[in-house]
């Protein structure tokens, strides 16, 4: 993209230097997505599900291997860069934070794909409607069910989304960032609307997500245009240089530009006041999609926020920092307080994710290397716990449909002690109780915030108060599961296949390990916390 010199400029064409090793993980996932489309077209229906699952899982494992090997054996950091005029600028920057987040997202994707593939004895993935194009409740839909139809196209859609997420934190210019944003979002809009049960709710969630996503994208683009007007370039290093040499006629464009780009990004992480979509979409989307979306989107979008703030507009921090501090405070408060009155497990986790976005923002706002590593660690810890938690939510059923109302969870601990026990453990992790990943993560973001000045201290105290509120919420669920008599035994945990079992086991195991012995991952995050500027 750096070389797309269009129109009137003198035509000296310099081809971009592309480091294919560094780009390989993204390329593998993208390639597999394309293969998935072909599978959808050419593989007979009977073996389509198996083929898609294999393509998805193998490509994700391959991408993860490529990423790890590339990071170990290759001089990291020069991928996809072009040297122009002495400054390093590129559209895709593969540096420490990128590698860490891409690895994290790939792990999320692997676990997410496993829980996505859960069939529970049916022909296709259980969470998805057999025919997305049919009207809910129509004869057409009934026919599709009878004929054993399935929407195996969720797998390539899922892979496209993953590739977008991997590109998002690596984007070194605002246009690439926008492309990544759309590549990750569009498949998610579709996936949200394909739930097998409560399809109206699902389709509504999808439409809402799409409309509001488009709205926020417009802000992002408008901000990009303003910043281009200010700096004459969309490259983050160029914008940084332009800020350093202020005094152009277009200075007034800087602050609105920065804030509008930020608004586009904050929408994706569900920060207040751009959070309204979160509970509805989390509730409506098929549960495995919700889990993956909550974990992956957050990691990718926070990666982009970090790069934009730390590389691009770092020097203008006095202009945007107050606004972001207010947003972080609001996000924590609204997320925590509103979670108190939720009666639906998925909505409760949605508000919890909003509160977590606030906690992560506190880490981002510390504007130090430690802040970056804390944020990276938080994203990994939160995502793993979230995917496992949503995988469990997907298993609690009443009459074949997911039982997400909290009243349906009463007494679950007595009938299914293991499932309820793991869920309770994950909730404690969300609450940040010691010896879970949540505690280490909160510690990792709050500590640099404390060292960043008065605003940081205020945010940390606020954060602790908000975590206390959320603890109350989570423990209420635990009390419901263990200490309240059940209304009946119509609600049961369905027996999952190995796929979901692996997701839940891996997610909760990571949650435990990152709480008890987090050293290695913390160190990895710290080593990976340096951006290439």
């Amino acid at each position: 993209m750096s070389t797309a010199v269009l129109g009137a400029a003198p035509a000296v064409f310099t081809p971009a230097t592309l480091d294919y090793v560094a780009l390989l993980p993204v390329l593998i996932v993208l390639g597999a997505a394309v293969v998935g489309v072909l599978v959808e077209a050419f593989v007979p229906r009977t073996s389509r599900y198996a083929a898609q699952v294999w393509v998805t899982l193998l490509s994700l494992v391959a991408a993860l291997l490529a990423l790890v090997l590339g990071a170990v054996n290759h001089q990291v950091g020069t991928a996809g860069l072009s040297q122009v005029g002495g400054t390093v600028k590129g559209s895709v920057v593969v540096d420490g934070p990128t590698l860490f987040l891409q690895g994290t997202i790939l792990v999320f994707a692997l676990l997410g794909a496993l829980s996505l593939s859960e069939r529970l004895g049916g022909v296709g993935a259980d969470a998805f409607t057999p025919m997305g194009s049919s009207t809910p409740g129509s004869p057409q839909e009934a026919q599709a069910v009878k004929a054993g139809a399935m929407t195996a196209e969720v797998f390539p859609l899922f892979l496209f989304s993953v590739s977008g997420m991997m590109l998002f934190p690596a984007a070194g210019d605002l246009l690439t960032m926008f492309v990544a944003l759309e590549v990750l979002s569009l498949p998610l809009y579709l996936l949200s609307g394909l739930a097998r049960r409560r399809r109206l709710l699902s389709q509504e969630a999808s439409l809402k997500y799409f409309l509001l996503g488009a709205f926020s994208s417009a802000f992002f683009l408008f901000g990009t245009a303003l910043l281009y007007g200010f700096a004459g370039s969309v490259y983050l290093p160029d914008i940084a240089t332009a800020i350093g040499a202020r005094g152009s006629a277009f200075d007034g464009l800087l602050v609105p530009g920065v804030l509008m780009v930020l608004i586009g990004l904050l929408f994706k992480v569900g920060a207040v006041p751009f959070h309204m979509w979160t509970p509805d979409v989390y509730q409506g989307a098929p549960t495995p999609v919700t889990g993956f979306m909550a974990a992956g989107t957050k990691a990718a979008a926070f990666g982009a926020i970090l790069r934009f703030l730390y590389v691009g507009v770092d020097q203008a921090q006095w202009d945007w920092r107050p606004a972001l501090i207010v947003i972080a405070a609001l996000t924590m408060i609204v997320g925590a307080v509103l979670s108190v009155t939720q009666t639906d497990v998925k909505r409760l986790l949605a508000y919890s994710s909003i509160a977590h976005a606030g906690f992560i923002l506190v880490g981002v706002l510390s504007l130090s290397r430690e802040g970056v590593s804390g944020t990276l660690f938080y994203l990994a810890a939160y995502g793993l716990a979230t995917i496992a938690a949503f995988a469990i939510v997907g298993l609690v059923r009443e009459g074949g449909s997911e039982a997400t109302h909290l009243s349906q969870w009463t007494g679950l601990g007595k009938r299914h002690p293991w499932t309820a026990g793991i869920f309770a453990f994950l909730l404690l992790a969300f609450a940040g109780i010691p010896l879970t990943s949540g505690f280490t993560a909160k510690f990792a973001v709050f500590k640099p915030a404390l060292e960043s000045g008065t605003a940081g201290v205020v945010l940390v105290v606020l954060g602790l108060l908000c975590s206390a509120i959320t603890v109350f919420v989570y423990v209420r669920v635990i009390v419901l599961m263990y200490f309240t008599d059940s209304s009946g035994d119509a609600v049961a945990v369905v027996e999952p296949s190995a796929f979901t079992t692996v997701t839940i086991a891996a997610g909760s195991l990571f949650t435990l390990v990152l709480g008890v012995a987090p050293a290695s991952v913390l160190m990895l995050a710290e080593r990976a916390s340096q951006f290439i500027r």
Binding site: L200, E204, L211, L259, L338, P434, E451, S467, F483, A519
Partner: protein, 652 residues
């Protein structure tokens, strides 16, 4: 006061040796009971037959390890008695050093011995008490979990690891209060305990963050060494937040409301957790943080005030309760008030706070077990108005309970006389109004204590028999009797041993001196002569006990409680603590949440019903709501953008 203490704290911190010998295996103290909990919980029904015995055995094993470490520590000279055991590097990344380690010093070992010894006795007692409970395996697993967490709490060498144990005992206590959760009011009691503790835990978390911010570390030795250089404001803030944490855990004013309700748990739990060990963790925290409190007189004064209020408060509530366990709970609250007050007095009081904590651990646990034995014989009845003259049916319970009663009254030479009297004396030390206010508070408290404990004792064991015809009170099985006898023996002699009046300084004081700093008796004199205080104390105790004898032993006790005076009625309601909490905290909180939800759902959604209607509603309605929602969501975003840009524009 602080000037001579800080170097002392420094030297204590510097003199920490790496643990060798038995102490190197000190981690077993936590690991053994934890292993027991894991085996019993994971093993499931298979362990039903032998699980409880295994748990009891592991608890005793922990006591043996603790005792060996104690002997090991005795081998060092006084100032050298501090062994540190490095466990592992919890978070060893860059600037962010967090080591997990244990600290064996006189203070922590005193707790270890109390927790493991009383804890093991209560394990034995529970073998009898819980014999017929179908879920006793789970009960013993939780008991073991509690012992492990409590030991981690007292052995931690940093505030952060202490916090882990702190949350652990909270969890175990919560599980055990709600153990008989088939009763909804019991489960709600567990909830209340949880919320009050949560408020305290926030204090703890904030204090830890402040410690980090101020000192860059959270281990005791670094913090103690660096208190000198810290600003007064910061140290005071840390002290106050630590006090908040202590109030939550130790049921001190204003977070006292949960302890009475926590009595819903099985009686051995009340004895172990809500009398002898966990509730005293707050006192431990204050004494452990002595360097911080010594440097922050304001926080110290707050500790004394909290202690004084709670000791009177608990005593008044104790006078009106007819439920034997709730009366004991109020007494616990009041006695911990004494310890808090002593801990807040500074170096003159630390050792006595711990001293009273140890003796109280014995006599109060013994009395709770006695109450459990009474309930065991009386079909789980707890109303003392339905007891009376039980001494005829349960001789051993009467005798053991009686020793505990004499001990808490402070009758010489039983345990309470030595420990509580020292606190009263220490409270009279000082200048200005303080010794008079706090000294008189402790003195009056002693009188009220004598009244309500005698009332409890006489109503239960003496007077006319008031139990119904179908009750057949009988003595409890040996597994329950023996622990009670051992604890009663402790109530009788422990005070004398630890205070040994013939030595120059009391053994407990010289034992704890390396940790908290010894106080030189010559420097501080109470505002009244010591014999006067002692005689006055004995006098008010005799008055209180005598009045109780007149009203509850000589006179007949009515089967239904009389209406009573205004104060009695208030005390029966725990001095309206629930109503106050509800009015001041719960209602505004509820309104705030409701208002926010209203804004979220109605004000912004625009459409009535929101998602609730969606789930069950018809499709035509769905479409209408759908439009309204997305549009209003977008509107919120737009408003947010406008506000942010507007504010930034105005500011610039």
């Amino acid at each position: 006061m602080s000037s001579f203490l800080v170097p002392l704290a420094d030297s204590a911190a510097a003199a920490s040796h790496p643990a060798t010998g038995v102490a190197a295996y000190g981690w077993l103290l936590v690991a053994l009971p934890l292993l027991g909990a894991a085996i019993l919980l994971v093993g499931g029904r298979r362990t039903d037959s032998w699980g409880p015995k295994l748990a009891t055995g592991l608890s005793w094993a922990a006591f043996v390890v603790g005792f060996l470490v104690f002997l090991n520590l005795l081998g060092y000279a006084g100032e050298e008695r501090s062994l540190s055991l490095h466990l592992y590097s919890w978070v060893p990344a860059g600037q962010f050093q967090l080591e997990a380690g244990m600290l064996f010093d006189p203070l922590s070992i005193a707790f270890v011995l109390l927790v493991t010894f009383v804890g093991s006795l209560i394990h034995v007692y529970s073998l009898g008490y819980m014999e017929h409970d179908p879920d006793k395996r789970r009960f013993f697993a939780y008991l073991n979990l509690f012992v492990a967490a409590m030991l981690l709490l007292v052995l931690a060498d940093s505030y952060l690891l202490l916090y882990v144990g702190w949350e652990g005992v909270g969890l175990a206590s919560y599980l055990l209060i709600g153990f008989w959760n088939f009763n909804p009011s019991y489960a709600s009691a567990a909830n209340k305990a949880f919320i009050a503790n949560r408020v305290g835990d926030v204090g703890m978390a904030v204090a830890i963050m402040f410690l980090f911010w101020q000192f860059g570390a959270v281990d005791f030795s670094t913090v103690n060494g660096a208190v000198d250089g810290a600003s007064q404001g910061a140290v005071t803030a840390i002290g106050l937040f630590l006090l908040l944490a202590a109030c939550g855990k130790s049921a001190q004013f204003p977070l006292q409301s949960w302890l009475g309700d926590a009595m819903a748990g099985p009686t051995p739990v009340s004895a172990l957790i809500h009398a002898a060990t966990m509730v005293t963790a707050g006192v431990y925290l204050v004494v452990r943080s002595h360097a911080i409190f010594d440097a922050a007189p304001t926080a110290q004064l707050a500790v004394v005030i909290v202690g004084a209020i709670t000791l009177i408060y608990g005593a008044i509530v104790g006078c009106a309760k007819d439920d034997i366990k709730k009366a004991l709970a109020a007494s616990t609250m009041s006695q911990i008030g004494y310890m808090m007050l002593a801990a807040g007095l500074g170096p003159v009081g630390y050792a006595f706070a711990i001293f009273h904590l140890l003796t109280h651990g014995f006599f109060k646990a013994g009395m709770f077990l006695g109450a459990g034995s009474v309930m065991h014989g009386m079909n789980d009845k707890v109303d003392m108005r339905g007891f009376g003259n039980l001494s005829s049916a349960m001789k051993i319970t009467w005798a053991t309970f009686g020793l505990g009663w004499l001990a808490i009254l402070g009758v010489p030479p039983f345990a309470g006389f030595w420990s509580k009297d020292k606190i009263i004396e220490a409270a009279f030390i000082g200048e200005g109004w303080r010794p008079w206010v706090f000294g008189l508070a402790t003195l009056i408290g002693a009188g009220i204590t004598a009244f309500y404990m005698s009332r409890l004792f006489f109503m239960t064991f003496h007077g006319k028999k008031r139990w119904p015809e179908d009750a057949h009170p009988h003595e409890s099985p040996p597994t329950m009797i023996y622990p009670m006898m051992i604890l009663a023996a402790g109530s009788a002699v422990l005070g004398l041993i630890l205070a040994w009046p013939f030595a120059q300084t009391a053994p407990i004081v010289s034992w704890l001196a390396p940790v908290v700093g010894g106080h030189d008796g010559a420097e501080h004199h109470p505002v009244l002569p010591v014999p006067v205080i002692t005689v006055a104390t004995l006098l008010v105790v005799a008055l209180g006990a005598g009045y109780a004898w007149l009203r509850y032993c000589r006179d007949a006790v009515p089967r239904t409680a009389p209406v009573g005076s205004l104060l009695t009625r208030a005390a029966r309601q725990d001095l309206y603590q629930d109503q106050v909490n509800e009015g001041l905290l719960m209602r505004p909180g509820l309104h705030l949440t409701r208002a926010l939800v209203f804004l979220d759902k109605r004000g912004v959604d625009g459409a009535a019903g929101g998602l609730a209607a969606l789930i069950g509603g018809s499709s035509s309605r769905l479409r209408r709501v759908q439009n309204g929602l997305a549009r209003s969501y977008a509107l919120t975003m737009l408003l947010g953008v406008v506000v942010i840009l507007g504010v930034v524009w105005v500011v610039q």
